[in-house]
Point group: C2
Chain length 465, copies 2
Amino acid sequence: MNYTVVNQKIIHHFVKIAGEGNVFTDQENMVKYSQDETEDLRFFPDVVIKPKHVKEIAAILKYCNEHHIPVTPRGGGTGLSGGALPIKGGVVLSLERLDRIIEIDERNLQVVVEPGVITENLMNAVAEKGFLYPVDPSSKGSCFIGGNMAHGSGGPRVVKYGTIREYVLNLEVVLPSGEIIWTGANTLKYASGYNLTQLMIGSEGTLGIITKIVLKLIPQPKHNLLLLASFPSNEDACAAVSAIFRVGITPSALEFMERKGVDWVREYDDINLSLNPSAAAFLLIEVDGSNLDLLFADCEVINEVLEHHQCLEVLFADSATQKEELWRMRRTMAVSVKSNSVYKEEDTVVPRAELPKLIKGIKMIGEKYGFDSVCYGHAGDGNLHVNILKGNMSDKDWNTQLKEGIKEIFELTVKLGGTISGEHGIGLVQKDYMPIKYAEINLNLMRGIKQVFDPKEILNPGKIF
Amino acid sequence: MNYTVVNQKIIHHFVKIAGEGNVFTDQENMVKYSQDETEDLRFFPDVVIKPKHVKEIAAILKYCNEHHIPVTPRGGGTGLSGGALPIKGGVVLSLERLDRIIEIDERNLQVVVEPGVITENLMNAVAEKGFLYPVDPSSKGSCFIGGNMAHGSGGPRVVKYGTIREYVLNLEVVLPSGEIIWTGANTLKYASGYNLTQLMIGSEGTLGIITKIVLKLIPQPKHNLLLLASFPSNEDACAAVSAIFRVGITPSALEFMERKGVDWVREYDDINLSLNPSAAAFLLIEVDGSNLDLLFADCEVINEVLEHHQCLEVLFADSATQKEELWRMRRTMAVSVKSNSVYKEEDTVVPRAELPKLIKGIKMIGEKYGFDSVCYGHAGDGNLHVNILKGNMSDKDWNTQLKEGIKEIFELTVKLGGTISGEHGIGLVQKDYMPIKYAEINLNLMRGIKQVFDPKEILNPGKIF
C-alpha cells in the first residue's frame, strides 16, 4: 500500500499541532535530517517536526495513522545502522526538544528522563548526586538517551554493568493510534504479564515512540584504574580477554583495539603515546570499585594473566589526564577511521572466548575479497566493531563483492554462537543479513508483533525486517 | 470456541509420541497435577504427559494445535499464582524429564540447561566449577529453572545480582505450531530485532514451551557476612532499607520479616534464636564480595545507618551454621505460615523507599476488612509478600469481602508506583486485578502478542489476561 504524499494541507495541520516554528520543510533541514552517522546513506523527509510535548506527538501520530503518512522518529542522529533515515519519506519526528531530566529520585535511586536528553548530560546530572548511570556509548556526547533505548545501546562498561536493558524500569510510549501508555512499573522487579518495556528496548522506533524513561541508578564507584596492554597479535590480545574473566575478575571495561586504529587515532587526535614497535593489538582494561587497594590487587592478578598471553608491555595510567587521553583514543577511533578511508562498519558479537577465531576469520575473509579492516570494540562482551576499508578495492568490487564478504563475516559470527548486531541495531543496513541469523519463523513472529502495535506500518517503515 | 475433549484415540496418539510409560490418566497423577502451591485451588487435567525430548514436545504441540486441545506446561509445581493449573482440562505437559545440565561452558561463563533441572541443583553444579548463578527463589530446592524462566523469578539476591531476566542469553522454544526456534544468540549483547528472549521470560507458558536455556554465569564471590537487625516497628525496618542504599552500599540480600512470621517459623522449624521482646520487625542483611575486610567495613557503615533508624539490636552471624539457620528461617517462612492458617499470598512490589507507606497501608486495609496479615519479602527490591490470614474472618467474608481488600492493597501498590506481582506472576489468581495496574490498551497489546504466537489459544489458556 502506498503512503500518502505530504502536501501543504497536511503540513498546515502539523503546524497547528506543533506550532509554526517547529515544522520544517526548508532545504537545510531536509539535508540535515536526511542522514545519520551511517556511512554515506541519504534519504530525504518531506517534513521535519520538532514537538515539545507528549500530547503533540500523540496528535501527530494519530493524524499520520489515519492518513497513512510514514513517521520516522529520530534521536541524536548518531546511529550506525540507518535506523533514523526516512526511507519512505514522510515525517521525521525529532525528539530533540523533549530534553528534560524530569526527576532524579534520590530516595529510590531512579531518574525520570525525556528521550531527547544527551546521554552524557544525564550521566553528569546523576553523578552530581553521587549516582552512576553506566551505559556510555562512544557517542555519549551527542547521542540521546531515547536513541540508546531504541537500539538497546551498550558501550565500554556493559561488561560489568550491563546494557541499557538492565537499567530501564518503565517507559511512556505513544502508539501509532495516538494512545499513550506506560509499559510497566517503576520497580526493580516485574512479573505482571508480558514485558512490554523489554520489548520496546531495541525496537528501533518501529513499535511506538518513547516519550519518558524511568531508569535505575547505582552508587558511583569511588575509584578506578586503567591499563593499556600491548600484544604481538590480534589473537593473543583476544585470547587474554576471556582468561581475565576466568580468574574471577570482572573489569569495568575491556576494550580491544587494532594497531592501525591506534596509529590513525594518534595522528587524528594528536595523542601523545609511545608504543612498542612490535605491538599489533591492544587491550584497554579498567577496574573500578570502592577500595583502591583491592583494585591494585586486581591489577596484579590481571598482569599475571596478561604475562601468560604474550603481553609485550603494560602501561599503567598514572594520572587523570592520562586516563582521559587513553579513553579519548578509544572513543575517537570511529571518527579517525572515517576520516582515513571510505568504510563500512559491522557490529559483530560472539561469546567472548570465540573472539580469537572471529578476528582471525575476519582477516581471512578480507584477504579473499580484497579488503582490509580495522577492528576494535568491547571485547569483554565479545562485541567487535569491524571497520571494512575500501582501500584499493575498485568501486565495482566495493559495490558488489563487498556484500558477499560481509555475508561471510556474519555467517562466521553466527557459527561461533553470535549475532549480527550487538549494540548498533539492524535498521536499514543490516536488514538483508537478518536471515543469516534468524529463521523465517523468527522474522514472522517479529512481523506479527509489529502488526499488533502498528497495523498500518506508519512507524519507521522498512527497518529491521 | 470449545476445546476438543481428550478421548482414548487422542491418548493413544500421545502414547505413540512419548512412549507407554510417560502418558498418565490414573487418579493419583490426576490429583497430583491438579494443584501447585497456590493455596487451595484444584483443576484436573485429562492427561499428563512427561516427554523426554524436544521433538516429542514439538509433536505433542503440533497435534494439540491441529486438534484444539489445551496444553498447560508445568515445571516443579511450586508456583504461587496457579500458573501451572490446567483450568480448561486437556494436557498437562510436565517438563520433569527434561532434566539435563547440557554444558557448563567455563570459557564463556555460560551454562546450557534443560527446563526441568531443579534450580538448586543447577546452582550447585556451577558452584563446583567456581561460578555463581545467583537467582535463588525460596523454593530453590524443588522449583525448576524452566518455571523460574516462565515467571521471571527473583529471590533474595536480586537486589545485588538482578532477576533471572539479567542472566538469560538465549532460549530454545517450541511454538504451538510444533516449530522449534532459538530466540536470540549466546551473547552478552543483542541488538538484532525484537528481543523474543526477553518476551518469553515471564510469559507463563502462554507463548511457547521453553526447552533449552542458555544462562550467563558470574564469578563466585569469596566471602559473605550476614546480620539480623531488629526494629520496634515495621515502618522503622522498612525505612532503614532505602537508607542503606543511599549511603552507597548494595547488599547481596536485604530481607524484611514481620515478628509473627519469625515467631511461627521458630516454632515450625525449631530454630534456636533469642529475640528482643520489643522487636516487631527484622531485616536480614547480607553483603558479599572478594575481600573480607571490605565487607566488615560495609557492615560498620550499615550498622550506623541502622542505629539512625531505631534499630534495637544487631545479631552478627558468627558461623556458617548460624548463617544457614538464619537463611533457613527466611526460606521456611512461607511453609510455616501455611501450616498456621488458611491464607492468601499477594506479591506486591513498589519502589523501595515507598515500603513504609505500603506496609502501613496494608495493615490499615486489614483493619478495615477484618483480616490479619504476615508480611515478609525482598525489601531491597521493594518486593513484599503479603500473607493474608483468615484468622477469625467468617467463611462468607473470606469468600466475598476479601477480594475487595486485596483490590485495595493493589490499588495502594499501584498508587505508590508499583505493580501487582514482582516475581510470582499473574497466572490465574491475580488475573482479575490486572486492570488495576494496566490500561485496556496494554492488555490488548498483550492479547495481540498472544495471538501472534498462539492463534488457537491452546497454550495455558485462561491465564494472565
